[in-house]
Symmetry: C2
DNA sequence: TGAAATACTTCATCTGTCGTAGTACGACAA
DNA sequence: TTGTCGTACTACGACAGATGAAGTATTTCA
């Protein structure tokens, strides 16, 4: 059963990040650029929001981190990459369902 | 220019309440019942959330309160009614615009 | 050589929401 | 008349996600 949590967008940052990690593992800076691109610059996630989301989601078991260099030879900066877990995939699916419900609810109070 | 606030639903309780007050002045218990009815029971606002929203919105100048009895003769329980202000109407309109934008943004990350 | 971009971390603060609890009145039934 | 249910709140403390400010360090490129 999908339940509406009262902190929705507040919690949808996690969903956005996970949706990007569904494609392939990625890291902070790259994810933040992708969110900006995908939304045509309409939404820019704050750095602190992003990195605290990583911490939270890793603690919750939704993502796993590993450190890797820019290229295979180990050159370039080291970055912390994140990979989505099965639990993360489940959480993402739940959030998508929750979103549909939330949208219906909120729209009953919105005038266009 | 509409900007996405990062606390969306978190802030959309206010919008729901205001949308009800657009019709006519009302009070806590009645508004909470209306929200439940309008959403077919899908969303039930918590009492504490509701009453703290009143306090906040009155402070912000979006609503005004007045005490009135159940009937015109002054019989029955006294209730605190709230009336939406012009500032409240503006705020509501802004929130509606914000919602459209937010919806577009979030949906780019949602799979159905 | 130095600015800009990359890639973070730390820390303190804010604020809407929520849980728990309590108050008080009226209506209505047993 | 006693008790329960519905109505109509208020008070208080706590939580958690988001944020602002600031700092660090490396790499890239003009």
């Amino acid at each position: 059963m999908v339940e509406i949590s009262s902190d929705v967008i507040r919690g949808y940052n996690d969903t956005m990040i996970l949706s990007i990690l569904l494609q392939e593992p990625s890291y902070g800076y790259e994810i933040s650029k992708q969110i900006k691109t995908i939304t045509d610059g309409k939404y820019v996630i704050k750095e602190t929001t992003l990195y605290s989301a990583f911490t939270r989601m890793e603690k919750n078991g939704y993502i796993e981190s590993f450190v890797a260099s820019q290229d295979l030879e180990g050159n370039g900066k080291k970055r912390t990459y994140y990979r989505i877990t099965d639990a993360g995939r489940d959480f993402y699916k739940d959030k998508c369902e929750e979103w549909e419900l939330t949208k219906d609810v909120v729209e009953k109070f919105i005038s266009k």
